[in-house]
Subunit: 343 residues, 2 copies
Amino acid sequence: MTDSTKPLGEFDLIERFFKNRANQQSKNYPQILLGIGDDCALIGAEKSFNSNSLKDLAISTDMLVEGRHFLPDANPYLLGHKCLAVNLSDLAAMGASPLGFTLAISMPEVKASWLEAFSNGLFDLANQHQCPLIGGDTTAGPLTISITVFGSVSGGEALARHKAQVGDDIWVSHQVGDARLALGALRHEWPLSAEEFNAVSGRMHAPTPRVDLGQKLLGIANAAIDISDGLLGDLSHILRQSKVSAEVFIDEVPGSDVLKSKSLELQRLCKLSGGDDYELCFTAPPEKTAAINGLSKELGFALTKIGKVTSSSTQLITLIDGDGHPLPPNLSAQYLQSFDHFQ
Amino acid sequence: MTDSTKPLGEFDLIERFFKNRANQQSKNYPQILLGIGDDCALIGAEKSFNSNSLKDLAISTDMLVEGRHFLPDANPYLLGHKCLAVNLSDLAAMGASPLGFTLAISMPEVKASWLEAFSNGLFDLANQHQCPLIGGDTTAGPLTISITVFGSVSGGEALARHKAQVGDDIWVSHQVGDARLALGALRHEWPLSAEEFNAVSGRMHAPTPRVDLGQKLLGIANAAIDISDGLLGDLSHILRQSKVSAEVFIDEVPGSDVLKSKSLELQRLCKLSGGDDYELCFTAPPEKTAAINGLSKELGFALTKIGKVTSSSTQLITLIDGDGHPLPPNLSAQYLQSFDHFQ
């Protein structure tokens, strides 16, 4: 129980909700030589990078701003979860194993109840992925949360975006589109029943980073990316960086039962252009199909073949419908448009 | 020359001022296997952590908010410099060598001229310290800048705050107090002539992180900290974490000629409680005095003995004046009060 009537200063606040919990957590991780409370955190090379095989360090950073990435009344537990989830998802897309993360947060006021819920969401997910909080900065200002996450991956094995090969199959994990379906209902773009909304909104508020899948894809997949801005937009990053093209069988892209009950047009919009699902899209040679199907059984969610990497200098995506026909160019362009935070 | 009349989207903006420059910069650093443009950056273990000797990874993060840490009309070149400088200063305080940094920035509008100057300030300092930008996130929102910096330090050798020993001398680099003297003039707490202000304001706007000094103190100093919140406040972190006390000869603390021309009271206030100087305060055994004096000659700035680590369970600082007398408790308390971002 916390006493939220007593005003807290910065140091009390950090100690109660972040530093003490973080340093308690770090005790379980021998690679963390120094956690919060010095000029820097220290991750021990001997106990992390050099164990077993030579390992590279993977690093990703994200910033979430109130009013832009979440609403002022966002549930602080889910917000704590999501801030870390989107960063863990980047580690997953490289096949990296989490080592730890830093948190920089500015907030307009010190509210113990908010911080308690936020830090619970954050630490619950961090503990689930053995990813200790090792450093941070807290200051007054508009609510803005910036997380940087670190992971290790065996030397040279990371699933980079430039490694897709002509002939690779394109795969996607679990289902996509529900986050966009829920967002559209919130924005009154289309109606959802309360039951439908409850079934899909968790995908928007509390995404599941596919950290295990990413690690298990090392040696199986060539390239990978997490779906944050939309399947086609994110896949196009792989294509551009690998200098290849692709065919995507758009009606093979897996969606939830709720999404499948909607019009074909809405299904396609949500699955192809909707962001925030944080599933993995990856490419792998056809001879890895059995291994990938085995992984799907082991992990308990679908891994679905949705396209093929083809050769071409144009680095374009051709969308193929359920009858095997390419979509008309204007419809194609509509799905292919990407996402610009400033437009 | 840039064309600042054309509106830029997020991707153009990142590419022009950050990504292209960062990836150009990274080419000079073989340890950067992947820079900006994938889900994570990758730092190669073989080319960094394992070279020569076993190395640990040092990590620090800071967030700067407009209106809190800098004014809306702050010079963007100096702001770019300062954002990175405060993080490099944390690496310096551990004795770590920079490996790279990430930048997360939210800003209300895309203004090419501002970004050009900001990125110039950032990259000029980064290049000076061989510290490439390896990852980032850019979004719309109130101007907020969060940097996370990474460095390597030989296994077990980092200058941590908990390593001060009874009998150690306490040292400070160069001079302290000018940043506070300039800030006070801006706040109309005291007057400075234009000439005086010009002489000292650089210490506030463009601090010099003591990265070389930090690295050279490995094997010489026991504990170190960078002076960001004020000499006594920062020293007290070392004392608390090392479970020791200290005597500080307050009139031995080195100040600039401008500061020395002010009243004794103002000198003490600026040197003891003023923050933002980003000099290093460190402790070392008396037998290292010659080595430290040698370092001072090599680096071209003063390293001054300002106190002693003493034994006591109270972890207090005793302030000694120029006549060798302890300061009265109420005056002492005034200098010892620290800094709380929320109060």
